[in-house]
Symmetry: C2
Subunit: 219 residues, 2 copies
Amino acid sequence: MSTIPQTATTAAPTQLGIGARFSIHPHCDDFVRVILDALDDVSQAGLTAGLVLETDEVSTYVGAAEAPAEQRLARYLAGVVAAASRRSDGGHVVAHVLLSRGCPGERTCDLSVTGLPVADPVDVPLTGVAAVAQWSLYPLLDGSSDDGDHMVPIEAAIAAAQRRGTATGPAHYATRLAGDVAEVLATAVDAWAQVGASIPHVVSHLTLSVGSPSVGQSR
Amino acid sequence: MSTIPQTATTAAPTQLGIGARFSIHPHCDDFVRVILDALDDVSQAGLTAGLVLETDEVSTYVGAAEAPAEQRLARYLAGVVAAASRRSDGGHVVAHVLLSRGCPGERTCDLSVTGLPVADPVDVPLTGVAAVAQWSLYPLLDGSSDDGDHMVPIEAAIAAAQRRGTATGPAHYATRLAGDVAEVLATAVDAWAQVGASIPHVVSHLTLSVGSPSVGQSR
């Protein structure tokens, strides 16, 4: 048994705590109906398979219990945002998404994780719903690599998003993304997973806006 | 001139890029009026003094141009959330706040900052509006201290929030806070500033919810 090389053992999604928190905000009087209908839509579409969902008074935790973890998360999140847009007849809907990996407990990081998984790029069907977003990526456990210089993987991720065409420019503390909801989420999820192949604890935050009345206005 | 010790020079708010991004989400049909009225209220109340504001299609950047940077930010943010709650007659309003320091440009960190400021705890008048929140704190530039163990300052900040009485418990990837909007924001801002006295680049995210119909329901 000791002949099996350690690097052949890849950490499981639950072992790494791969998951998300999200909240979704329809800007309309009947927001409760829109949210419940949207959650029902994605459940009916089978997008909750392999995920653990827990809703509290602020947001919903989405844990990936089965591989492919990143693709399940990206498809579910894109599905919820697109469904909420449809259920509010194209009204203004904002979602806030926190992606996390490498910190499975509430307050403790497992620093001993080895065999970080290399995830394939996610495949998320286009939704037909256009989004603008602001995106931040935080490699947290980088003390032992690159002398703690967390900007190297961030800059590589932004360059990948620019090649993909979703990154439209920088903003203070964030990068602007635009495109189909599926493409915007895939950009953030792929970057987060890619950095996670070399750094155990990586968090990303994404604020997605669809149907905003202020898009295209000069402010 | 060379007799002046270097530690006497404290980095200015603009030099450190001390600021925030926020978005505010009234869950009602007339959300545009609520937002514009709330922004007007805080401007009339003088809470924009010493701040630089830039609104785009996703969120609003709030840069601190003058000291006390943290107190100006906390008072402004608490004022906006409370005003939006009042302007929507106590309806459901969610705000998402990103606090950042130590990364003044869009993509570059100034690693050479010395003389990190030690901020006094912020003094934010109570708003009378109760909030629940989920809060995350990310010390990013910690490679040179504590061997990159970013959990040490996070755990100290959570302990301080527990002593204050606003931290009500852990959640996946976040800590739950509850209390007056002013107290919840002061908890997050004080923790972020306190960690910033020893680590140059610190980011914090906070999702605040007021008037939620799901608070107190068993889910």
